[in-house]
Amino acid sequence: MEGIWDINKIQEILPQRYPFLFIDRVVSIDEKEGKVTCLKNFTANDYFFTGHFPGKPVVPGVIMIEAMAQASIIGFAAIKPEVASKHPTYYLGKVEAKFRRAVTVGDQLVIEVKKEKIVNNAGVVTAVAKVNGEVAAEAKIMFGVILESHR
């Protein structure tokens, strides 16, 4: 395992920005095995806690899915750097997710993504998001990748 991406490198690959960027750091990349590990830290300043829920902050499940989907893009970029460098559009096709525990202020989400199959224009991966080693959510994610010139 090698390679650590900071937020600047992450933003070279992920098209998402505030308030919809949900990866803070990439801590490991294993191109051979098709595995990446990413971190997301949740803080009291996160905007969605204002409404979800007042006085009882819980990370919305859709944001957990989005974080796992963004980690999947990092996984795609690790395996297909030549495609990712052209800044394609990534879109979700299908998500099969399970939620195991609530994630809240102060939690660090460790998202592990493993490829099942990645090709130039699509990917199938499994993602597991953990807090303190405990599984908070897991998903099988299918996504498409479109280069602008192919539209």
Binding site: E116, A122, V124
Partner: protein, 85 residues
């Protein structure tokens, strides 16, 4: 390939797999039904099928072969080819 592929069993399993992913009834999954035109299978569903086959039968389907998988019959032919039959 570590194990020999039993084609009759594979065919039944493949029909179930394609029915599940395409959300069609098993009766609609004919060997010569066209994935895209008849079953509404898009490129991502096709990749899901590929990933499931690879996992189940411990094979690797080359990326270049995926566009040729346009029906179940094509998939059987491909599986036969990559398993060396």
């Amino acid at each position: 390939m570590s194990q020999e592929i039993n084609m009759d069993k594979v065919k039944e399993e493949m029909r179930n797999l394609v029915a599940e992913i395409s959300e069609k009834s098993i009766e609609e999954i004919k060997d010569d039904a066209r994935f895209s035109e008849d079953l509404g299978i898009d490129s991502m569903m096709a990749l899901e099928i590929v990933a499931s086959i690879e996992k189940k039968y411990k094979v690797v389907i080359p990326e270049a072969e995926i566009p040729n998988m346009r029906s179940l019959q094509n998939v059987y032919d491909l599986l036969g080819k990559i398993s060396g039959k």
